[in-house]
Amino acid sequence: MIMQSEYIMNLASKGLRIDNRKPEDFREIKLEKGVTGNAEGSARIRMGKTEIMVGIKMGVGVPFPDSLDKGVLIVGAEFSPIASPSFEKGPPREEAIELARVIDRGIRESKAIDLENLCIKKGEKVWMVFIDIHILNHDGNLIDAAGLASIQALLDAKMPEYIEKEEKVNYEKRTKPFPVKFKPVPVTVVKMGESFFIDPSLEEENALGARFTITTMDNGNICAMQKGGVEALKIEEIDRIFDLAVRKAGELRKLLK
C-alpha cells in the first residue's frame, strides 16, 4: 500500500496518473435512472469502477418544530460490505456520515427540493423524503458519484398518493412529479504533490494530501464546500480548485436526464 502510494505521488509530481488519465479527466461515467421499482425515484451511477445506487423513498411524518410547514429531508449513506474488502473490518461510520452530510448540505442549501411543497397539513403532517445512498463498489470519489446520482434519483422521482381518509400512503399510484428546482452538483478536486486532479480513484485517495469538494448550482453559485484530508492548502491553491470544480460541474450536470 505504502509503496503504491509513493509511486502514485511520484507520477503526480510529473502531472501523471496511474491510469493514464489527464488531471482534469473524469473516468467513464454511466448514469441510469429508474433502476429499482419500489423506490419513488432511483438512479445508478458507474464512475469507473465505483458503483452507487440511490433510492428516494417518501413517507408521511411530523414536521420539525422550527419548520412546521415544510417537508423533511433525510440523507443516509450505507457502505455495504459488498463494496470493499475493507468495509467489514471496523465501521467506517465516520466516512459514511460525512458523505451523507455533504450531499445533504448541497441539496438543502441549494434549495434543490421545494420543501414548502411537501407539506400536507401544517404542523401535523408533512412528507418525509429519504435519499438513501447505497455503495455497491468503492473505487474512490464517492461524494461526486453519490451527489450526481442523488440529483438524478430526485429528478426521476414521482410522488405517491396520500389517502387522507385512511391516513396512508398509496404507493401503487405514483403520478405527481417530485418538486426539484435546482441541480446542485458536487465536484471534488484533490491535491497530490503539486498537482490538482479530479475524480480520484481509491488508490489515489489513499495517497492524497488534500481533498476539496465544491457543490455548484445551475447558475454557477456555490452552495456547499468541504475540505478533507490532512494537508493544508494555500489560498491560491483554493482559487485554482474553485475554478476547476465550477468548470467541471457543468460537464457533470449535462449527464442528468
Binding site: K49, E51, S80, P81, P85, E88, D139
Partner: protein, 229 residues
C-alpha cells in the same frame, strides 16, 4: 387455477442470473426473480477477524442478509433486524453443505447478500445469488445450491409465490436444493397444510430447482467465457 400474473402453477417468474457483477469482491452475482433483485458478494478465503473466532479445523462461513432502504414500499430502516438475522442463519446453513470448509482451516469466507428490490422470494433469490458468487470466487464446491419458494392454492401446488398469492396460499415453503447431490439444504414452512399435500409441494419445488441450476451454470459459463476474451 389461474394465477394473477398468468403463469402456470409450476412456472417461476422470469429469472436472470449474472456472475461477476462487482469489481472489488472475490466473487459476485446478481439474481433477478421477477422484480425481486438480489446481489451477493463473496470475500475470502481470508484471515478471520476477530481472531478468537478462528476455527482450527475448517473455515468459518459467515453470511449477512440486508435489505436496501429503498427496496420495499415502506422504507426499511438500516441495520440488522430479527428477521434478517434469522435469514442470514438459514442461508449459511443452506450453503455450508455445498462447501469443503475443511480445506481452508483458520480462514473465513464471507457472503454478503443485498436485496435491492423486494417483491417476494428475497431469501431464495439471495441463496441463488450467493451460490453463484461462491463459484465465481473460485471456492471449491460439491454442488451449486438452488432455491425457490412454493405453496398451494386451490389444491394445486404453486411455484414461486408472488403478490397476493402470499396471502392465499396454504403454506409458504422456501427450499434450497443441491441438484446433483439430490439433497435439501434449507427448508422452512409457514402455513396450515396436511402432510401428504406438503409432500406434493416439495416435489414441485424440487423440479424447478433443476431449471434454476441450468441458469446458474449458464451464468458461470458466460462469466468464464467473458473472462477468457
Amino acid at each position: 387455477m389461474k394465477r394473477e400474473d398468468g403463469r402456470k402453477p409450476d412456472e417461476m417468474r422470469p429469472l436472470v442470473i449474472k456472475a461477476g457483477v462487482l469489481k472489488e469482491a472475490n466473487g459476485s452475482a446478481l439474481v433477478k426473480l421477477g422484480k425481486t433483485t438480489a446481489i451477493a458478494a463473496v470475500y475470502g478465503p481470508r484471515e478471520t477477524h476477530p481472531r478468537h473466532l478462528t476455527r482450527p479445523d475448517k473455515a468459518l462461513l459467515r453470511c449477512y442478509y440486508n435489505m436496501a432502504p429503498f427496496s420495499t414500499n415502506d422504507r426499511v430502516r438500516p441495520g440488522r433486524s430479527r428477521r434478517s438475522t434469522e435469514i442470514a442463519k438459514v442461508t449459511r446453513e443452506a450453503l455450508e453443505p455445498a462447501l469443503f470448509l475443511e480445506e481452508f482451516p483458520k480462514a473465513s469466507i464471507e457472503v454478503f447478500i443485498e436485496i435491492l428490490q423486494a417483491d417476494a422470494g428475497t431469501r431464495t433469490a439471495g441463496i441463488n445469488a450467493a451460490s453463484v458468487a461462491l463459484a465465481d470466487a473460485g471456492i471449491p464446491m460439491r454442488d451449486l445450491v438452488t432455491s425457490i419458494a412454493a405453496g398451494r392454492i386451490d389444491k394445486t401446488p404453486i411455484l414461486d409465490l408472488a403478490g397476493k398469492e402470499e396471502e392465499e396460499t396454504e403454506c409458504d415453503l422456501p427450499i434450497a436444493y443441491m441438484p446433483r447431490e439430490k439433497k435439501i439444504t434449507l427448508m422452512q414452512m409457514d402455513g396450515d397444510i396436511a402432510q401428504k399435500n406438503l409432500r406434493e409441494v416439495i416435489d414441485t419445488a424440487i423440479k424447478v430447482c433443476e431449471q434454476i441450476y441450468e441458469k446458474q451454470k449458464e451464468a458461470l459459463k458466460e462469466r468464464w467465457v467473458g473472462e477468457g476474451k
